[in-house]
């Protein structure tokens, strides 16, 4: 079949299946890159022939011939263009079987061919070592090296690596006199034993570059050499059917304005392997439907190419246009669902929604009366009214104070009791007065004064070194883990060791007087202040970095004053993309169950959102609303997206991250605990708090009736909360909270005290029913309403009655009143237990 015929049939396929958004796209054949720069005799550029443009490709044409308009300027080798002499030329692409037809054109500009073509250690040699894995953590990049040979991890220290290669091991690694005897070649070639195996052969480009470099005298890294400033990937995104492949190109832009094709030396990885995989050469293969990305890494820089592939469902195209929508959230979610051909689930019932909104917004079950009132109300504004009501409930403060206490690590195993209380009360006060999130962050960053009066200073009592302060500020407010960069450049991110120490140096002058940090002793009273001088030494350099917030310009290292102010400004600046995205994602996850980025504490560039435009829109909304979190919550709650049913449809069953339906999840430890108490009507007592050494102390902070979401910290003794995975608040990470169901949890529900004991109490719901002399029907209805926020279905009612009616009647008829009561009590306890152990109760849905 000729290429044009093939093109035709492709286009038809796409049009028929609606996979291309723009019908004329089949005419848009392009060569990538469209304009090519070759800046030296050793440069070359690989070419791609794609359908679409640099932004989005919907297919790649494999069998294509490229021609040069002037072979005296550039020549073609397969799909690669190489320089001959300085000048301009045009490349044309032709169908292999219809060579006369020009499918597309690209321009080339060649410069610098007269230059020496010197191999540069940084530009040429190190990328080879990185690509081949020589300097990876598993090989010579390990802290201890391998086989006595150590390289800096992924080449973050070129000068040291050059020294190691040319001077260490008595110079045997490089043999300038007899290049072929250099260990740098003989080892990876397998000519002498190499535990890392054979890495390349003699005809490889890698071998050529390394031997050329030695031949030219193993030139050391020069100061002032152009450095890579950014990467570009072509195309930026692909939309393909499962089973199809596509090549990617990676271009490096350097500080001298040059551009090079670095595809061959780029390391590729896939963010979601069930969606797309990628091979060593940058060819991706779509494996399944969904949206994922390919990460390209070169010289500690990272760029993503997005990959999307529609689900194989039959969904009428006009369904998306007709789907109900309230706000921008719905628009953007529907757009993604349309891209991926997922059918949105319909709106859930009022009963489901009232329970969902209560639990997500205030961590509390609605009472039977609250449920009834909402369900019976007929006003079209009833949902909006419920949302407003919830945002103003007192439990809103309890719930969100406890959520933010997770993020800020209020923990009695680390802090003394009075400090715990001050810290918690400070957080609570911020929630109660709805302090904007940027202001809250500023107050934490700039905290100073007494730990008993200025609760926020306890952040610095928990994190006492500049490194810890810096890492935890990043984690809490930016969702970024920068810890890797403490020892070496971050392997997954763009953060470098220098940036890490520049950031940490912002905290070098933070000091405190008073309590030193022994969690077992003292009053916990600590006064935080900021010194006028002092710097943090970067161990690898033996001197401090100029203080700077991550990628912001550095401050004057000599300037006096609180450097944290610069950090607070940068952190909360409207153009800081991390800050608003991190909090928008945290709030979103609270309501939808799955973060747009998962995990919420892992917001690195190489971990893209499942709906990037939505996360951007949410964070921009938050900025426009001046970081009023209630505005964001209101917007989320009001959306149709939030109100979708959790029942999967045939056309969205596979979806776990694009919000075509609501995803059920187990209630968090504290909320579940409180729900048990609310339904059984028996609160728990919190009288002990655990110390760091495992011993316990009495606490009088919590009066009778205190709910778990009102506890200040994670050290309060409660085997239930522990077994159900509360956040232990040892590190800043939502991942410390575990909502995974375990066997021990089930045993606790089945046989332990939490349910059985509470149901037996003289004031429990069961006792109340017995006192009231309620009928079985009444008990069933009340139990369903309080625990599941709905009426039992008629079949449930019938089947439960079938089980219980006869023994209940027998018990009633019993002549012995005590035995009769006990018999009925047992039946009601079993009924309640069955509801309180059901997944509908244990789960948010």
């Amino acid at each position: 079949m000729s290429a044009s015929l093939r093109l035709f049939s492709w286009c038809c396929f796409y049009l028929l299946t609606g996979m291309l958004a723009v019908p004329h796209a089949c005419a848009e054949w392009r060569i990538l890159p469209e304009s090519i720069e070759l800046g030296g005799p050793r440069e070359s550029q690989r070419l791609l022939m794609i359908s679409g443009n640099a932004e989005l490709s919907t297919g790649q044409l494999g069998e294509v011939t490229f021609r040069s308009s002037d072979p005296g300027i550039v020549r073609i080798e397969g799909n690669r263009v190489l320089p001959v002499q300085d000048g301009n030329a045009t490349i044309t692409a032709h169908d292999a079987e219809q060579p006369e037809q020009v499918l597309a054109k690209a321009t080339v500009r060649v410069t610098g061919t007269a230059g020496p073509g010197e191999i540069s250690f940084v530009r040429d040699v190190q990328p080879v070592l990185s690509k081949l894995g020589c300097n990876s953590g598993a090989c010579h990049g390990a802290l201890a090296g391998k086989g006595g040979f150590r390289l800096s991890l992924l080449g973050y220290d070129p000068k040291l690596d050059h020294f190691t290669l040319t001077r260490e091991a008595r110079g045997r690694r490089i043999d300038l006199g007899d290049v072929g005897r250099s260990l740098l070649l003989t080892k990876p070639l397998g000519l002498v034993p190499h535990k890392g195996g054979v890495r390349f052969d003699q005809d490889s480009e890698a071998c050529r570059i390394l031997s050329q470099w030695i031949l030219q005298g193993a030139v050391e890294p020069r100061d002032g050499e152009p450095r890579v400033t950014r990467l570009e990937v072509l195309p930026h995104a692909v939309r393909l059917r499962p089973g199809t492949g596509h090549d990617l190109l990676v271009l490096a832009h350097d500080s001298a304005g040059g551009v090079r094709d670095v595809t061959r030396w780029t390391k590729f990885s896939a963010t979601h392997e069930p969606i797309a995989t990628v091979d060593d050469g940058g060819r991706l293969t779509v494996v399944g439907p969904g949206e994922g990305a390919i990460v390209a890494w070169y010289d500690s820089k990272i760029i993503l190419a997005r990959v999307s592939s529609a689900y194989p469902y039959e969904v009428p195209p006009d369904l998306y246009a007709q789907a109900p929508r309230v706000n921008f959230i719905d628009e953007l979610v529907l757009r993604q669902l349309e891209n991926l051909r997922l059918r949105p689930s319909p709106r859930a019932s009022d009963e489901v929604l009232v329970r969902r909104a209560f639990l997500d917004t205030i961590g509390t079950l609605p009472t039977a009366e609250e449920t009834r009132a909402f369900v019976d109300e007929t006003s079209p504004e009833k949902w909006d009214r419920l949302v407003e009501h919830l945002l103003e409930r007192p439990e809103f403060v309890d719930y969100w104070a406890y959520r933010w206490s997770d993020v800020l690590l209020v923990n009695g195993r680390v802090l003394r009791p009075d400090a715990v209380r001050a810290y918690y009360q400070w957080i609570r006060e911020q929630v109660a007065t709805n302090v904007p999130w940027d202001e809250l962050a500023r107050r934490v960053v700039l905290a100073r004064g007494s730990s008993h009066e200025q609760g926020a200073t306890n952040f610095y009592a928990i994190h006492q070194t500049p490194e810890d302060m810096s890492e935890n500020i990043s984690q809490a407010f930016l969702g970024l883990s920068i810890g890797c960069a403490k020892c070496h450049n971050h392997p997954l991110e763009k953060w470098t060791n220098n940036q890490y120490y520049a950031m940490a140096n912002l905290f070098a002058r933070v000091r405190a007087k008073g309590w030193g940090g022994d969690p077992r002793n003292g009053d916990g009273l600590r006064v935080l202040y900021v010194e006028e001088t002092g710097d943090l030494i970067q161990p690898s350099l033996g001197k401090p970095q100029r203080p700077a917030p991550l990628d912001a310009p550095p401050l004057d290292i000599e300037a006096a004053g609180d450097r944290r102010e610069a950090l607070a400004d940068w952190l909360t600046a409207v153009d800081n993309p991390y800050f608003s995205r991190a909090i928008a994602n945290r709030v979103w996850k609270n309501f939808l169950g799955i973060g747009l980025v998962e995990d919420v504490d892992d917001l690195r560039l190489s971990n893209p959102a499942s709906n990037e435009p939505l996360l951007t829109a949410l964070s921009e909304f938050l900025v426009a609303e001046k970081y009023n979190l209630k505005s964001l919550m209101r917007e989320i709650l009001r959306s149709e997206t939030y109100r979708r049913d959790s029942q999967p449809l045939a056309e969205n069953r596979e979806d776990t991250r694009y919000y075509s339906r609501y995803y059920p999840r187990r209630l968090s430890a504290e909320v579940l605990h409180d729900a048990f108490c609310q339904v059984t009507r028996i609160p728990s007592k919190f009288t002990q708090t655990e110390n760091v050494d495992g011993s316990t102390s009495a606490t009088s902070f919590y009066p009778e009736g205190t709910r778990a979401i009102q506890l200040y910290d994670s050290a309060v003794v409660s085997s239930f909360l522990q077994v159900f995975g509360r956040n232990e608040r040892a590190i800043t990470c939502e991942c410390e909270r575990s909502n995974e169901p375990t066997v021990v949890q089930v045993l606790q529900i089945s046989n332990g005290e939490i349910v059985n004991q509470k149901l037996r109490e003289p004031d429990s719901c069961v006792s109340q029913h017995l006192k009231n002399g309620d009928t079985l029907e009444q008990v069933i209805e009340q139990a369903f309403l309080t625990a599941l926020s709905r009426q039992p279905s008629s079949s449930e009612r019938e089947r439960l009655l079938d089980e219980l009616r006869e023994p209940f009647a027998q018990a009633l008829a019993s002549s012995e009143s005590e035995a009769s009561l006990e018999q009925r009590r047992i039946l009601l306890e079993d009924l309640y237990w069955s509801i309180l152990s059901s997944r509908e109760f244990l789960f948010q849905h």
Partner: protein
């Protein structure tokens, strides 16, 4: 080879994932019988490479307090009196091994175990640091909690009977004084892989597993009714079948019901089924009966049992022989600690051997460190992580040998130094797990089973 993704799905060579089987298993809630579920699990087991290794189990005996190498397994009879201590070495069933006279029963089974006399670690000499390193192979830094070796096995292989895959006897370690996590948990693998902790003393006459059985007022009839009622209530929520966690929860209900109602599980925990003379042979002590219970649990399908010889170093007499109050001295070790330990261990090894279970059960005896070469003025010895002895039996280990050597006073390894990562690597090796398998750490950062550069002590096998 086994490969892992961040989602914790184990892919086998033929592309079948563990989750595929879990999904099959979870159908049990809506129709599949227990037998069919077990069959699905067995099908999974059959796809694993190295089926024989899949049969392997491990009993880890953790000697809280840290025994003195010089008074137990690494005697230095030629050293000065203040080093060699009061005890004499005795010959054993192995010509290569001499051990302390306070462990006569060990001498009778010395052809079954091999000593590693050159174990060491470089962390602080506090109990908790050693606990975490010796049980996980790593020192906890940067707030990352590594998983116990048993949790790793649970994560990679799952359950193989009605019983949980990983059990701790008699309960989780208590305080160590260093305020550090003790490593006896699922760590970053999640609570789903925490050990099942017995929380009871099996030597007590009224011994039972808490929460394993319903409260006494909930008899079989009520249990059945509860199950029927719950089925009615729970059946309506079909939408949960699309949620992994909901499926896992129902799995756990199944598992809990299995535990509660399984005659196999119930009998595994029921020590009264053992003849009296067998119980006596292990010794009617907490440690002795834990050893016996461990054997029963392994027989019933548990993959990994950790026995804490003591619960904490503070409230009881342990291996922690500082000499000063409230700790015991070298003499106290001889009178109180050694006899119960010696008896329980030897009985366990003999019993496993006689039942033909030893080849498939690795028994490793670990501790957080050793003790100072010189006896202190209080007549005790203090903490010494620079050199100590651990030992292994069964699970493919050739017994009766000594690997590694300490110097003349037992102060530092003189030959084949073995850090904690090598010790834990040895456990994985015996269990047939490739140390290069990667586990998904916090932030999906991959961690190989043992640190780069670490290696199993292959000389043992």
């Amino acid at each position: 080879m086994l490969r892992l993704t961040g989602q914790g799905v184990a892919h086998t060579c033929d592309g079948v994932t563990r989750r595929d089987f879990l999904e099959v298993g979870s159908l049990g809630a809506i129709g599949l019988s227990l037998t069919e579920m077990l069959a699905a699990e067995q099908a999974f087991a059959a796809t694993e490479a190295g089926k024989s290794a899949d049969k392997r189990s491990c009993i880890m005996i953790f000697n809280l307090g840290a025994p003195s190498q010089l008074d137990t397994f690494d005697m230095k009879p030629d050293a000065p009196a203040e080093v060699r201590g009061p005890f004499k070495p005795i010959s054993t069933r192995s010509s290569e091994i001499q051990i302390s006279e306070i462990l006569p029963r060990h001498a009778e089974v010395a052809d079954k175990f091999s000593l590693v006399r050159s174990c060491y670690h470089t962390a602080a000499a506090v109990h908790d640091a050693g606990w975490q390193m010796m049980q996980t192979g790593r020192q906890f830094t940067g707030g990352i909690n590594y998983p116990h070796a048993g949790a790793v096995l649970s994560y990679l292989k799952g359950r193989r009977s009605d019983l949980p895959p990983f059990v701790v006897l008699p309960q989780l370690m208590g305080r160590g004084g260093g305020n550090l996590p003790n490593g006896q948990a699922g760590g970053f693998l999640g609570k789903a892989h925490d050990p099942f902790s017995l929380m009871a003393d099996p030597s007590q006459p009224d011994f039972k597993v808490p929460n394993l059985l319903p409260p006494s007022e909930i008899g079989e009839a009520r249990l059945d009714r509860r199950k029927r009622l719950r089925t009615i209530v729970d059946e309506t929520v079909a939408q949960f079948e699309a949620s992994d966690d909901a499926r896992l929860l129902n799995e756990n209900f199944q598992a809990a019901y299995r535990l509660m109602t399984s005659p196999q599980a119930r009998s595994a925990f029921d020590l009264s089924l053992e003849p009296n003379h067998v119980r006596e042979r292990y010794g009617m002590t907490r440690f002795g009966q834990c050893c016996l219970l461990a054997r029963r649990l392994i027989e019933a399908g548990v993959r990994f049992v950790t026995i804490n010889t003591f619960l904490t170093v503070f409230d009881e007499i342990t291996w922690d022989i500082h000499g000063s109050k409230p700790f015991t001295s070298i003499a106290g070790m001889k009178d109180i600690v050694a006899p119960l330990y010696d008896r329980g261990y030897a009985a366990l090894i003999e019993d496993l051997d006689q039942r033909g279970m030893l080849e498939e059960t690795l028994v490793c005896n670990l501790a957080e460190f050793g003790r100072t070469p010189k006896v202190n003025p209080a007549g005790g010895r203090d903490h010494w992580p620079q050199c100590f002895t651990v030992y292994f039996a069964g699970g493919g280990v050739q017994g009766g040998r000594v690997i590694g050597r300490s110097d003349a006073i037992g102060a530092v390894p003189a030959e084949r130094p073995a850090p904690p990562s090598d010790v834990v690597g040895t456990i994985f090796h015996s269990l047939g797990l490739d140390p290069k398998i990667e586990l998904p750490g916090p932030g999906k950062r991959p961690f190989p089973l043992i640190e780069f550069g670490a290696a199993p002590i292959r000389e043992l096998f």
